[in-house]
């Protein structure tokens, strides 16, 4: 049987559960006696253990079992919630994550993880008041659920003689269709104890021609030797709970308990009775006496009707306490809730979604082609039809892209833990404030923004926020604030990492930059330029390299990561008041609204979102701008970038006039000088090959309706080229600037 999809679902689910567990644990720190949180943590651990068990991931099961035992005690109020408990639980959660990851990657656990696991097991057992088990011991065997005490009175006729559990199991018809194999539950059962005797009950099998090969007709009578608690045994069947009839008879149960089960089962009473005798659960004498007693005895003792509803678990006397019943009820409710949620949402393979987006991309290109032809033909009916088509394609595109949109909240939540751990390590009191968690952006972007964000958050805590004493001395609240926010802004999303710390120390940054030879000693830098130095490769201000940051491999990597997502990062710092870093990212990586511009015979695309306006450049103004390198825009200076020269393209500029496209990016505004403006265009972004990875100023390519290729301009990159080479300052220095820069784009499009 191919388990791969089910496995993937398990890994995804474990991930979610662990995240929830962590959130709940962190919540528990501030509200130590929140019942719901404790239950939530317990359920998460329990579900992971159960599913891992079904798949036979013993390492995960064993370790999680100890965690669950501890949580069980906490839930019963036997162990109070305190830092001494939450700390190990948080680490345990990490370790479970490591174990699951190891399974997912089919790799061995690293020595470090293994040591952590051993240490944690010791800590957990210590908390449980048990001596740490020797390695290799079955930890499950030490489960806290102590089986019912053997009734010592040997003269009690009512007591059956077997020390085994007896499980009576009938699977529902739809179990196999639901993707579960009864065998896997039995195999899992075998991991928490010994299956002494098992009888496969196939009496429900219909005659051959009435058989539905995909339905399940099997049942099992099992004698089971284990120290596991009843809840543990029930837990094995948690995933078929709603779809099977399960009776569990504890060891040394009264004969009547067996009789109740015998009556509740659909098969013939005597047959089951024989089975029990056969398996050694009952002696023949006990059975006969019992059956006779029940027949002649009081009807009031008879159990409720023989037709037990699906999923009902008979709670036999003795081995069950009220807590277990409560837990079972809660679990059942949770399963139902989950089902309701599943009905509303659908888990889809990300690859399928990517394929869909790709197809939509092709559709957009094709429809652009249609529009192109309809414009050439100038047939009114055709144009109308193509307009409708275009609008629909637009909608399809938006809908398809929105499928990939996820909220950034989950990414932000992860930082609760980071902030907690790091602030302790640093001895600072830091509070994380999250805003805009519901802001949506492309899944790919969310996945790739995690690392840079982590770096920024750690940096802010390590360098940005002062030691508590310093804060108090400066009249600031002792508890520092770290703000993580997200919001939409004109076709992009802005993620902010802000702290209320000391701000950047510009003197120190400049000194260090000079020390490291990043700038010359006599350089005259503006405040913003100094701030940006922290993004320079190899820059670090830390006098001491701490555990967290300061190794000088940080901020330039962050910047590069963000630029790889076609994003930019801005710093805003106020000495003594704090620093705010804004990351501006495109909403999606797949399709943009583009604006076509032409230089010579080549076509380029600019993202519409960055364009402020377009103006004509002709006559006297043109020659003046040519000489000065900038344009007088209603009294303001607008630096100009001649695209033809920036890309070193051949051919003469048009004789009559040129056009200026005014683009804004972040806080800078630049005019890009081009030959012609060609209107808006739905642009499906195709990445450039590896060969062009060093190319600046171009972020991708696209195919136009006519089948031609157009390069997509990367405005941030262009601005950088312009800034570095002073392309915009004077035409005479322009050409030299391009040559001087080894990394600049030298591209012969024609």
């Amino acid at each position: 049987m191919n388990l791969e999809p089910a496995l993937q679902a398990f890994f995804a689910e474990a991930d979610e559960l662990l995240t929830r567990m962590e959130e709940a644990l962190l919540g528990l720190e501030s509200v130590p006696d929140d019942r719901e949180l404790i239950d939530e943590i317990f359920r998460a651990a329990h579900t992971i253990k159960g599913t891992a068990g079904v798949f036979g991931f013993d390492d995960v099961v064993h370790f999680t079992h100890e965690v669950e035992s501890l949580l069980d005690r906490v839930r019963d109020g036997q162990i109070a919630v305190s830092a001494a408990v939450i700390g190990p639980l948080l680490r345990s959660k990490d370790h479970i994550g490591a174990l699951v990851r190891a399974v997912a990657e089919k790799s061995e656990l690293s020595g470090q993880d293994r040591a952590e696991g051993d240490e944690l097991t010791g800590v957990l057992l210590g908390l449980l008041g048990k001596a740490p088990a020797a390695r290799g011991d079955s930890l499950v065997a030490q489960a806290p659920g102590v089986p019912a005490e053997p009734v010592s009175d040997a003269g009690d006729d009512d007591c059956a003689g077997s020390g085994n559990w007896h499980l009576s199991l009938r699977f529902g018809v739809d179990v196999m269709r639901g993707g579960m194999d009864p065998l896997s539950f039995l195999r899992y059962l075998g991991t928490i104890g010994e299956i002494v005797h098992l009888h496969t009950v196939a009496d429900a099998l219909p005659p051959w021609l009435e058989l539905d090969p995909e339905a399940c007709y099997l049942g099992f009578e099992i004698d089971f030797l284990s120290d596991a608690s009843k809840a543990d045994i029930e837990g094995v069947f948690e995933f078929v709970r709603d779809d099977c009839v399960l009776h569990i008879i504890p060891p040394y149960a009264k004969v009547s308990a067996y009789l109740d089960v015998i009556r509740a089962l659909p098969e013939d009473d005597l047959m089951i009775g024989e089975l029990l005798v056969l398996s050694g659960a009952l002696t023949r004498a006990e059975l006969e006496r019992g059956l006779a007693q029940q027949k002649g005895g009081s009807d009031s003792e008879a159990p409720a009707g023989p037709t037990a509803p699906l999923g009902e678990i008979l709670v036999e006397a003795g081995a069950v306490n009220a807590g277990v019943v409560d837990a079972a009820l809660v679990k059942q409710k949770q399963v139902k809730d989950n089902k309701a949620q599943e009905a509303r949402s659908l888990r889809i393979d990300a690859d399928k979604l990517d394929q869909l987006i790709e197809l939509v991309g092709e559709l957009v290109i094709a429809s652009a082609g249609v529009q192109n032809i309809s414009q050439t033909l100038a047939n009114i009916q055709l144009s109308e039809a193509s307009e409708v088509l275009l609008r629909l394609v637009d909608d399809v595109r938006d809908q398809a892209l929105s499928l990939r949109m996820v909220q950034i909240g989950a990414t932000f939540q992860r930082f609760q833990r980071v902030v907690r751990d790091v602030s302790r390590e640093l001895g600072k009191d830091i509070e994380l404030v999250i805003s805009g968690a519901e802001t949506e952006l492309d899944k790919t972007v969310v996945e790739r923004i995690g690392d840079p964000l982590m770096h920024l958050v750690r940096n802010a805590m390590d360098h940005g926020i002062e030691q508590t004493e310093v804060r108090v001395a400066n009249g600031k609240p002792a508890r520092a604030r770290l703000m993580l926010g997200a919001q939409h802004e004109a076709g992009s999303i802005v993620i902010t990492v802000a702290d209320d710390g000391g701000g950047l120390n510009r003197d120190k940054i400049l000194r260090k930059a000079i020390e490291r030879g990043l700038v010359s000693e006599d350089a005259q830098l503006t405040e913003r330029e100094i701030d940006r130095l922290i993004f320079a490769p190899g820059f670090s201000t830390a006098d001491q390299i701490s555990n967290l940051s300061g190794r000088g491999v940080g901020m330039d990597v962050v910047r590069r990561d963000i630029e790889a997502l076609r994003g930019t990062v801005e710093i805003d710092t106020q000495p003594g008041r704090g620093t705010s870093l804004s990351i501006r990212l495109p909403l999606t990586l797949a399709i943009i609204d583009g604006f076509l511009i032409g230089v010579g015979t080549a076509t380029f695309v600019l993202p519409v979102g960055v364009i402020v306006e377009c103006v004509e450049l002709a006559g006297e103004e043109r020659s003046a701008a040519r000489a000065r390198g900038y344009l007088d825009m209603r009294g303001e200076v607008l630096p100009l970038l001649w695209l033809r020269e920036a890309f070193d393209m051949q051919g003469e500029s048009p004789t009559r006039r040129e056009n200026v496209v005014v683009v804004q990016f972040g806080q800078s505004r630049v005019g890009i000088v081009v030959d012609q403006l060609m209107g808006e265009h739905q642009t499906v972004i195709r990445p450039l090959g590896k060969l062009f990875s060093a190319l600046r100023g171009v972020s991708g390519s696209t195919i136009l309706g006519t089948g031609e290729i157009a390069l997509i301009l990367d405005v941030a990159g262009l601005l950088q080229i312009a800034g570095r080479n002073e392309l915009v300052s004077h035409p005479a220095t322009r050409a030299r600037g391009v040559e001087a820069d080894e990394r600049s784009a030298s591209l012969n499009v024609q």
Binding site: M1, R177, P182, L183, R187, H197, T200, W208, P213
Partner: protein
């Protein structure tokens, strides 16, 4: 999953199951077995190339045996593969099928 059929003159029909005898091929296997059972002849099922067996496979074999026996035909399982033995062992089905099993050394 693949089921090959071999007819011995005067002997039983031998079916040879290859691959997974699981829920994914249950409907196909049911179809093949239905056709064969309708011929009312003795059956021998060779399990040497079964790579995986799940509950649906077990159930199908049990039902087929019942059906064959009801019509007075023999139904035997031979050359159990390790995957089959594993399941037979777990479900303690040896006595139910009653076929001699060769346990690999």
């Amino acid at each position: 999953m693949n089921i090959d059929r071999k007819d011995e003159a005067g002997g039983p029909i031998e079916l040879s199951v290859q691959g997974e005898l699981t829920i994914f091929g249950a409907a196909d296997a049911y179809g093949v077995l239905t056709r064969v059972l309708s011929e009312k002849r003795d059956l021998r099922v060779n399990l040497s190339r079964v790579s995986e067996l799940d509950s649906s496979g077990v159930q199908l074999l049990l039902a087929a045996k019942n059906a064959a026996q009801r019509h007075g035909q023999r139904f035997e399982l031979v050359a159990h593969s390790p995957a089959v033995l594993d399941v037979m062992d777990l479900l303690q089905l040896g006595p139910v099928f009653g076929d001699p099993v060769v346990v690999p050394a």
